[in-house]
């Protein structure tokens, strides 16, 4: 498979997952605010963690002084100048799909093309303004549709592995950031009978895990929630599950290998997976949730970097060839489409 194709499929999946996560996050925060009631609630306290989760704190504050629900939702949903907005994630997913149209099923392509047409349409913008919940639900259901179509139409080979890598790494990243927003909260349940651990409940909802958690563990207990979302492989969105799948996709791509033969991405993913499997929630809390997640994030990034180096940049395993003066490739960066478009290249493409 072409390296650029692999990278584009990987990023296509990542961007879809990102748009899905942001939609669910905005939806659950709106619901949480409705539960909390309006009286005496500091709105910013609910929206600030979202910016931390998406990693857009700085970009947001460059545009706005105060944190308000309207500004945060507008910023994360439809702002064209926020490269991480739902709008831009969907555009990027669709552009990446477009660059690999010949490699993916028509159904995947039409699903993402349809979603982009919707979020860019007047109807879509109007829906977000007047019934934002419906808008987010639409994005969510399209993303599920994408997962379903991808699952039932993608041959189990390189395409599938790169698709899953993108989805699962993005999911693990967002899950861990979400958990981190709760790392400052008390782990003790209030003794008061009516006390509602809103933030923890919202966390479960943001991960589509509220009902399954209740069925398993009953009453929301912070420690159990952390265990569930971080370490429990029974939950398909848990960080441990995602990393397990990343590991098996990488083994599918490179083979397991032993010793010297083991590739770098497999080594990183396998080691992280083992750590998650053999760690208890008590040990996590001993290190500190925030510290643990910090390290987790570093290691997830390390896996992402090594995937890029191994499959996209890698030209080490060349046949032994005389290197000519024409060694260099063209001036464009390798890999997938991202929102920062090289305008000169764009112009040249149009001149053709």
């Amino acid at each position: 498979m072409l390296s650029r194709v692999a990278d584009s499929i990987y990023w296509m999946a990542r961007y879809v997952e990102r748009a899905e996560n942001f939609s669910r996050l905005l939806l659950s925060t709106q619901d949480l605010l409705l539960d909390a009631g309006v009286d005496g609630v500091d709105e910013a306290q609910f929206w600030q963690p979202i910016l931390a989760t998406t990693g857009d704190d700085e970009a947001y504050h460059a545009l706005h002084q105060r944190v308000t629900g309207d500004d945060v939702t507008a910023f994360l949903a439809l702002r064209a100048d926020n490269p991480n907005s739902i709008l831009n994630c969907i555009r990027a997913a669709r552009e990446n799909a477009r660059t690999v149209r010949d490699q993916i099923s028509n159904d995947i392509w039409e699903c993402l093309n349809g979603l982009r047409l919707f979020v860019e349409s007047d109807q879509g913008q109007e829906m977000h303004r007047t019934q934002s919940a419906r808008f987010y639900e639409r994005v969510l259901s399209r993303s599920y549709e994408f997962q379903g179509i991808a699952d039932s139409t993608t041959p189990r080979g390189d395409s599938w592995h790169f698709l899953r890598l993108g989805t699962c790494l993005e999911r693990a990243d967002k899950m861990s950031r979400l958990l981190d927003t709760c790392s400052g909260l008390s782990l003790e349940m209030s003794p008061h009978r009516d006390a509602r651990p809103l933030r923890w409940a919202a966390l479960l909802r943001s991960c589509s895990a509220r009902h399954s958690f209740q069925a398993y563990h009953g009453k929301p207990d912070p420690k159990k929630i952390i265990d569930y979302l971080l370490l429990d492989e029974a939950l398909p969105r848990s960080v441990a599950s995602c990393v397990a799948e990343v590991h098996s996709a990488l083994v599918g791509l490179c083979g397991a290998g032993l010793g010297d033969k083991m590739s770098e991405p497999v080594r990183h993913a396998g080691r992280l997976h083992a750590d998650l499997v053999y760690t208890t929630v008590e040990e996590v809390l001993e290190v500190g949730l925030h510290e643990f997640i910090d390290d987790l994030q570093t290691r997830l990034n390390q896996i992402g970097d090594s995937i890029f180096k191994t499959f996209v940049l890698n030209i080490e395993d060349l046949p032994e060839l005389e290197v000519s003066e024409a060694e260099s490739s063209s001036g464009l960066p390798l890999g997938a489409y991202h929102t920062d478009v090289n305008e000169e290249a764009q112009q040249q493409q149009q001149q053709q």
Binding site: L2, E110, L318, A326, S329, L332, E344, Q349, Q350
Partner: protein, 492 residues
């Protein structure tokens, strides 16, 4: 009987469907019955369904001058254009004759230049064509073929005679729309396609693959073929992707390729893989920064040397644009005579050359009655439509022609044939042309039909998509279904 065509006016033109006395031409009979029986709202509904499907499937082209990269569907009119088999046979023979002569011409001017030394064509005109590549002279290309894929533009005049308007021997586009239009028609009018002996076009992908495979270096048994695209911002990106998918070959950008040891490789997740044939949809200028434009971000450094050494084949070859020069176009009948000793089956539109002093004088005196074209422009740009021009435009062209007469040619205004096109709730006549696709591999093949382009603006003679043009499906119709050859066996 009430019919959608009751109020149709063929007007004072050659109408593809109706003769001057409003009699439907025989090869349109079945079509007029079926389509005529629809109500305007049925027809509109069908049209809307097809448009929505094109948008959803992303069968689009990119509109420039708009940094959002807006994509539009190529407007499509449901009523097909029909060409009877017997008429098509003449067109086909004319196209084959023409591409044969053009390839002999290119091989000649990139080697011995006999046609120039024999004094048949003026050397200063041919060698001053801006797409002539002297650095390519003496290079052997696979099988001596330069133009493998040609999209010739044909028009019909007020008598219905066919003329060649342009040859397009560089990177002609539109074949994907030809195929997608047919697919749309299969959804919209399945019964009609079922009952009429319409020749299929969906073999184009396979034919193109065979044409390309023929160019591979001789020792290679199972050649790796790729389509080289400028990228997703190119207006024809959809087509590049579509053709790659039809052929089952990868679509690559310049940055996916790398040259080592005068061989071209693509970067894959498992290392480098050698490429043998490249269907390139990038102009010569941008193909190799080491040879042509240094600032090209789209090309592949070293690819030209790999081609010169015969380790990779390019389609079309380098420097074919010399035949697209509109002044050189005027000389094609002489080439046919010189190389094949035949008269052209399809005539040229009479063309006045700015470089000939007498003809230049004629052009300047008759600007109001002529179409003036810059020799290297395409897509309907750089043109003066004499009869509809303003005084300012004419004086601007006078200045330009005087400054550089080599750069201009002029032709009489042809009253292009018209075809009914659905407008709002009824049919009106609009001018059309025809772009058939010719493939030159181990033999020359022409896809039956091609892309019929329509000037959708009332009265307009310009059919280019960039200038408000649309398209129609084109049906080459066997006279009798029994004559139709059995399906060409498909290669597994």
């Amino acid at each position: 009987m009430s019919s959608l065509f009751n109020d149709y006016q063929p007007g004072n033109f050659f109408d593809e469907v109706y003769s001057a006395d409003m009699a439907g031409r025989p090869h349109y009979k079945a079509l007029l019955g079926s389509i005529g029986s629809l109500t305007p709202s049925d027809y509109s509904a069908l049209q809307k369904t097809v448009d929505a499907a094109f948008l959803r499937q992303g069968v689009t082209f990119t509109v420039y001058g708009d940094n959002k990269g807006t994509e539009r569907i190529f407007p499509f009119d449901l009523m097909p254009r029909v060409i009877p088999q017997r008429e098509w046979e003449t067109v086909e023979a004319g196209l084959i004759q023409r591409i044969t002569a053009l390839n002999l011409f290119l091989d000649d001017i990139y080697h011995g230049q006999k046609i120039l030394t024999d004094g048949v064509l003026p050397a200063e005109l041919v060698l001053s064509a801006s797409h002539y590549r002297p650095e390519f002279r003496g290079i052997k290309v696979p099988h001596g073929i330069y133009i493998h894929i040609c999209g010739t533009d044909l028009v019909r005049d007020d008598k219905g005679d066919y003329y060649v308007l342009e040859d397009n021997g560089r990177c002609p586009s539109g074949a994907s729309y030809m195929m997608e239009n047919r697919n749309a028609m299969k959804r919209a009018f399945p019964e009609m396609l079922h009952s009429l002996p319409v020749r299929p076009v969906d073999e184009y992908g396979e034919m193109l693959r065979e044409t390309l495979a023929h160019l591979a270096p001789p020792a290679v048994i199972d050649p790796v073929i790729v389509v080289l695209t400028p990228g997703i911002y190119n207006s024809a990106y959809f087509e590049h992707c579509y053709l790659a998918k039809q052929m089952g070959v990868p679509i690559v950008e310049g940055r996916d390729l790398i040259v080592r040891n005068d061989r071209v490789f693509m970067r894959t997740t498992k290392g480098l893989e050698q490429v043998h044939v490249i269907y390139r949809r990038i102009d010569d200028d941008f193909l190799d920064p080491l040879v042509f434009r240094e600032d090209s971000l789209l090309g592949v450094p070293g690819i030209i040397n790999a081609y010169r050494k015969g380790h990779v084949a390019l389609a079309n070859s380098i420097g074919t644009g010399v035949a697209d020069d509109k002044a050189v176009y005027a000389l094609v009948p002489k080439m046919i005579k010189y190389y094949l000793d035949q008269d052209p089956i399809l005539p040229n539109v009479p063309t006045h050359l700015g470089i000939e002093p007498k003809e230049c004088e004629y052009i300047l005196e008759n600007l109001e009655n002529l179409v003036v074209k810059a020799v290297n422009e395409s897509g309907g740009y750089g043109m003066l439509m004499g009869p509809s021009s303003t005084k300012e435009e004419r004086s601007e062209f006078t200045r330009r022609i005087k400054a550089n007469p080599r750069n201009y040619v002029a032709q009489p205004v042809l009253q292009l044939s018209r075809h009914p096109v659905f407008v709002d709730d009824h049919f009106e006549g609009r001018h059309v042309d025809l772009r058939p696709y010719v493939l030159y591999g181990d033999r020359v093949r022409v896809v039956p039909g091609g892309l019929t382009r329509v000037a959708l603006k009332k009265g307009s003679l310009v059919v280019n998509s960039s200038q408000g043009g649309g398209s129609k499906d084109t049906w080459v119709l066997w006279e009798d279904r029994l004559d139709m050859p059995a399906e060409t066996p498909t290669v597994p």
